[in-house]
């Protein structure tokens, strides 16, 4: 099958959507499909792989807690049109098309089967509420909608007035499951017990202060315990938070590469996700489960769902240092329980493997393809109005909910 993927965010900037598109493209190519990716980038040179097509530069605007890439204009439109004509795709798969980005441009220009994946999970987005109805005429062209989580689907239902199939983010399970650990650390090597944390450690919502508070209790029962902190942030701020008592027990790894992240997850005895709020999905938990790390996580909806409601990991009340400390204590003292959680975690992670998910996404492609087959092309030039017509914009959408 000839598949065209569209990533609306700059390829050379790290981000969840970019990784999703990259991994999906790799997996589908591995299954023998022809995959091309259209994406903007900061610098044209960084779009070097032959299957990538540079869609132009973008104007970043704040959206959903990060930067969306605003991209419009005749040059971008011409690039999109050329990509569609030359690609002759059976299906085009756009990501996050509700923002005025190259994804929306593709929706405007393409004629043929379009599949879209929605990633954003903010339930209240003024930006979406304002722009959503305006983009509606082109989002109507999408034949199959996918949401990466229940939250993303809710955004879709509430703001954009459509339904979506839920297909979660994927993880390359073997990449995390097999390989060496970090030098000097290692699960089951008889060394001191290790707890892992990954995330922006100076952001309170990631919950590191709660974990540090809990660590002070854990230290009493397990005097040799070590905490590995990986991620970006202000190191001085971290050490101030850690304090004198814990300082010898904390190791700061800083920002880690993908390979180091996998090694880090394979090395820890327990992975802890003490987040206080706002995680929409929790890819990191799946990665940790794939790496065989038992998990202690706060009871956010997203985490609870990933951990099968507590079957595949320990859930504790969020922002409760005492409960978190107890859970860590018990788990560190009980190797049998750790092994059991690791086994269940591996099984839970397996269903998020890209091999599995790519097959489900292929089923979506097959479902939107017309019976005789067909090709996505660029519509005629006059089919693409230069200015989005207003008029629908001012009114909220009349969403006729289906009878259930």
């Amino acid at each position: 099958m000839r598949i065209g993927l569209v990533c609306p965010y700059r390829w050379d900037v790290p981000g969840g959507v970019q990784y999703h598109v990259r991994d999906l493209a790799e997996t589908l190519r591995g299954m023998g499909h022809h995959v091309e990716v259209l994406t903007p980038a900061e610098r044209e040179e960084s779009v070097s792989d032959p299957f990538l097509t540079f869609a132009g530069r973008t104007v970043p605007v704040p959206y959903n807690g990060s930067m969306a890439s605003l991209q419009f204009g005749p040059v971008s439109a011409a690039r999109v049109r050329r990509w569609l004509r030359e690609g002759r795709f059976d299906v085009v798969h756009v990501h996050e098309p509700a923002t005025p980005s190259v994804s929306l441009l593709v929706c405007m220009i393409a004629t043929g089967p379009i599949v879209a994946t929605f990633h954003a999970a903010t339930t209240r987005s003024k930006w979406l509420a304002a722009v959503g109805p305006m983009t509606r005429p082109w989002l109507e062209k999408i034949s199959g909608r996918i949401a990466v989580s229940d939250f993303a689907r809710r955004v879709q239902v509430e703001h954009l007035g459509g339904d979506a199939v839920i297909l979660p983010n994927g993880v390359h399970v073997p990449f995390f499951a097999e390989g060496p650990g970090l030098p000097g650390f290692g699960r089951g090597t008889g060394g001191p017990p290790t707890i892992g944390f990954l995330g922006r450690y100076d952001e309170p919502r990631k919950g590191l202060p709660v974990l540090l508070q809990a660590m002070r209790g854990v230290l009493r029962r397990h005097p040799g315990v070590r905490l590995l902190v990986a991620g970006r942030g202000d190191a001085d701020e971290l050490w101030r938070l850690v304090g004198e008592e814990l300082r010898p027990h904390v190791t700061l790894l800083g920002e880690v590469s993908e390979a180091d992240k996998a090694a880090f997850l394979r090395s820890v005895d327990v992975y802890c996700a003490p987040n206080l709020l706002g995680e929409s999905f929790g890819v990191i938990l799946i990665e940790a489960m794939a790496a065989g790390a038992p998990i202690v996580a706060s009871d956010l909806d997203a985490f609870s769902r990933v951990l099968d409601g507590g079957d595949a990991g320990v859930l504790v009340r969020r922002n409760d240092a005492a409960a978190l400390g107890r859970a860590l204590d018990e788990l560190l003292a009980d190797p049998g329980r750790r092994a059991e959680l690791a086994a269940r975690g591996s099984a839970a992670a397996a269903q998020y493997d890209w091999q599995v998910l790519a097959r489900r996404i292929l089923a979506v492609y097959e479902t939107v393809l017309p019976a005789g087959g067909g090709v996505v092309t660029a519509g005629t030039d006059d089919d693409f109005p230069a200015v989005p017509p207003t008029g629908t914009a001012a009114r909220p959408p009349h969403i006729r909910r289906p009878r259930r």
């Binding site: 089967p113 005429p137 109507e140 062209k141 034949s143 199959g144 909608r145 229940d150 689907r153 809710r154 239902v157 007035g161 459509g162 339904d163 199939v165 839920i166 297909l167 979660p168 769902r305 269903q351 489900r360 089923a363 979506v364 097959e366 479902t367 939107v368 393809l369 017309p370 019976a371 089919d383 109005p385 017509p389 008029g391 629908t392 959408p397 009349h398 969403i399 006729r400 909910r401 289906p402 009878r403 259930r404």
Partner: protein, 183 residues
């Protein structure tokens, strides 16, 4: 204002209305085509499901037990018949429930047939969602004031939702733990 200015203004308003009507008509046409496409896929998958159920009942009655095999054969025949007349949702629902009751391992049934059946059930669920999505978008636009007052696509039948219970395969259940909530 002079009569010229009035007529100019009137022409301008007419042009805007005309442009708007053409744009709405484009959208309606596009949606109608999408509904047709989605229905063709859903119809094909439902027929495929009925065909597989027939094959299962005819060739592997031992794996199902005589009672279930008989019910499956009747269900598949009714689902087929309902394509031209009768309540299709009802017939497909009945067939779906019968298929739901199949034993998990199905001894003696070739793996290819089992995979095919599971795949078809997943695709029925996907196709039905995409079809209903297309219907929802169409009804939304058709229900707006402008298309109603101008009578655009008035002669076209308003597409109907297709509601059956397709929460079947583990694939859909796993992927969508809350699929029947929030919509």
């Amino acid at each position: 204002m002079t009569p010229e200015a009035w007529s100019l203004l009137a022409t301008g308003v007419l042009l805007v209305l005309l442009g708007w009507a053409i744009w709405t008509l484009t959208r309606l046409r596009r949606l109608a085509a999408r509904v047709d496409r989605a229905w063709a896929v859903l119809d094909a998958q439902l027929q495929r499901r009925a065909g597989l159920a027939e094959e299962l009942a005819r060739n592997h009655p031992a794996a199902l037990g005589p009672e279930l095999a008989a019910r499956l054969a009747v269900g598949a025949a009714q689902a087929r018949a309902s394509r031209t007349d009768g309540d299709r949702e009802l017939a497909e629902n009945a067939l779906g429930h019968d298929l739901h009751q199949l034993p998990a391992d199905l001894p003696g049934v070739p793996a290819a047939l089992r995979t095919d059946l599971a795949g078809t059930q997943t695709r029925v669920a996907l196709a039905r969602r995409f079809y209903n999505d297309a219907v929802r978008d169409t009804r939304e636009l058709r229900g707006r004031r402008f298309p109603r007052w101008t009578g655009l696509h008035r002669t076209h039948r308003l597409p109907r939702y297709f509601d059956i219970d397709d929460r079947l395969g583990a694939v859909i259940r796993d992927a969508d733990p809350a699929g029947h909530r929030g919509g």
